[in-house]
């Protein structure tokens, strides 16, 4: 029975992705993509990766959808110049070959499981019991630091390009009870995931994405307007994550002589502190990426 479940789920993933990519209706593509994200998250749960599934649900199905919807009406559809049939057939053939080769290569690749033994061997000294969090913030913390830097670079790019501000419609009276429950719920879940990320699935990335979802509800409901002051606060919080992470890296260098090697026995406190700041900073960054940070009017400068 669970095999039938897997087959149906895999079929659903490919079907919704094809639906999303195969139509020129904006809402249909984006709704299809959001549903694809949900189903992919479900299949990641089946593949035993609930940490990734949580992130995919929060980001792939939630925030990317909102981001695409923001831009959907601003990007004009391309002139409907259909490429000739022969081209499409050739491309389709290449795509099928690519898929087949990829599936074959991945399936027959030797399953040299090198990492799991290493990770479980040293999990005890990482300060946390969730192996994914241990990899992210202890064993490979340097990578994570650079990834936060990448996020920040994307934020700066968006700040320079300065797309227009999204303008949600006025949504009326029933938005208030919705926001009153969903927004605190997002904050609660962010804290919950952050705390339990040390032992079971969860962590700073998922928590940040969910907190960003709460902020998005405030924006879309028209309750919070991005004033220049709020914007500069947001930028500051966004930078704070990178700054605290970098300072932590340098101070571990000073304390233990190795970059991001936490002092003995205190690893959990260090990880939790960095993660807490990262949560806030990721939430601020994702929210600002959505809002697009418009340039100020000239007379305002």
């Amino acid at each position: 029975m669970s095999l039938a479940f897997d087959i149906l789920l895999a079929f659903g993933v490919v079907f919704t992705a094809a639906a999303a990519l195969g139509t020129h209706d904006r809402v249909a593509s984006i709704a299809g993509f959001v549903v694809t994200g949900l189903l992919v998250a479900l299949s990641l749960v089946r593949l035993g990766a609930p940490d990734v599934a949580l992130a995919e649900a929060a980001i792939g199905a939630g925030l990317t959808g909102a981001l695409l919807l923001r831009s959907a009406w601003r990007l004009k559809p391309a002139e409907s110049r259909v490429s000739p049939a022969i081209d499409r057939i050739i491309v389709a053939l290449i795509a099928v070959c690519l898929s087949g080769a990829l599936a074959w290569a991945v399936y027959t690749a030797p399953g040299a499981a090198l990492y799991p033994a290493l990770v479980s061997e040293r999990l005890a000294e990482s300060g946390v019991t969730n192996p994914v969090t241990a990899v992210l913030l202890n064993f490979r913390a340097w990578d994570t630091l650079l990834e936060i830097a990448v996020l920040f670079v994307a934020l700066i790019l968006v700040r320079i390009v300065a797309p227009a501000h999204p303008q949600p419609v006025v949504l009326g009276e029933l938005m208030l009870p919705f926001a009153r429950i969903v927004v605190p719920m997002c904050a609660f879940l962010a804290g919950h995931l952050l705390w339990q990320g040390a032992s079971v699935p969860g962590g700073a990335f998922q928590a940040g994405a969910i907190l960003a979802g709460g902020l998005l509800v405030l924006m879309l409901g028209g309750f919070a307007v991005l004033t220049p002051r709020l914007l500069s606060w947001g930028m500051m919080v966004a930078l704070l994550g990178l700054a605290v992470f970098a300072v932590a890296a340098l101070s571990t260098e000073a304390l233990t002589g190795t970059l991001l090697l936490y002092p003995d026995g205190a690893a959990k406190i260090w990880i939790l502190m960095i993660e807490a700041v990262l949560t806030l900073s990721i939430a601020a960054m994702l929210c600002l990426l959505f809002c697009g940070m418009p340039r100020r009017p000239l007379n305002d400068v």
Partner: protein
């Protein structure tokens, strides 16, 4: 006692799943957007509530009850709000028969 809970839980879950199936069927078969919204706001929320209740019975632990209750509240609330917002947007197109 546990077998009673098991049976009750399975029955509730079955009912909930059938409500979800019927809601999907309703989205297929009901004639216009506003009628389809009824399937979203009622059958779906009630179906999820029954499934959550059944899961709580099968699990038999009080702390999972809290998580499941929150799930139900959130889904019902979002169903109601989004249903209302779609109906509202649809109505202001001026097709009040």
């Amino acid at each position: 006692m546990t077998t009673v809970l098991q049976v009750v839980g399975l029955t509730l879950t079955t009912f909930g799943v059938s409500f979800l199936l019927i809601a999907a069927l309703g989205v297929w078969r009901l004639p216009d957007v506003l009628s389809r919204l009824h399937a979203l706001t009622k059958a779906d929320s009630a179906g999820l509530a029954l499934i959550a209740l059944g899961a709580a019975c099968l699990k038999g632990r009080p702390d999972s009850l809290l998580v499941l209750g929150l799930c139900v509240v959130l889904v019902a609330l979002s169903g109601v709000t989004i249903g209302h917002l779609i109906a509202r947007a649809h109505l202001s197109e001026g097709d009040l028969e």
